[in-house]
Amino acid sequence: MLIWKAAALALVTCVIALVLKKDQPAYAFLASAAGAICLLALASQRLSPLLEWIHTLSEYGIAESSACLLQVLGIALIGQFASDLCREAGLSAAASAVDLCGRLLALLQALPMLQSLLASFSGFLQG
């Protein structure tokens, strides 16, 4: 099963990063980044059936929202990944900056959907 492979990969990466941390902290960070990349690749290869399911949502008449939802998901995934890597390297300022960028871009991406939501709400209230 996939979960055993992911757990083993994470464990080996932790051991290697700890071995390298004392002498060469730069390589320890690169090793942990490589491990994180492998795990993310492993996860995203198994993600496609879920995303196909999200596309089927568009049959219920909410076509543009499923595409926008997918993009917000992608932005959140990459933003979280980058900010956690920065935090793991010890750079909390860079981590919070990447987090801010991720939230900003996600909000910008979701703006048309929010617009239509507010429009429908105001329609209900006046109606």
């Binding site: 390298l20 492998c38 992608g74």
Partner: protein, 64 residues
Amino acid sequence: MDIDLVFKIAATGIIVAVLNQLLIRSGREDQAMMTTLAGLIVVLTMLVGQISDLFVLIKALFDL
């Protein structure tokens, strides 16, 4: 995009650590710095290739 990427980086790191100690003990600190930088460049070129593959995969998945 498999575990061998982590093992390659670990091997380079350990070799550079050993070489570093060797060169520092024999009094050549500047060459020790050079070997660390060289190892770092090798690892970075490998890692950047893998990162770009991952981002292409995610871009295709989420059609960003």
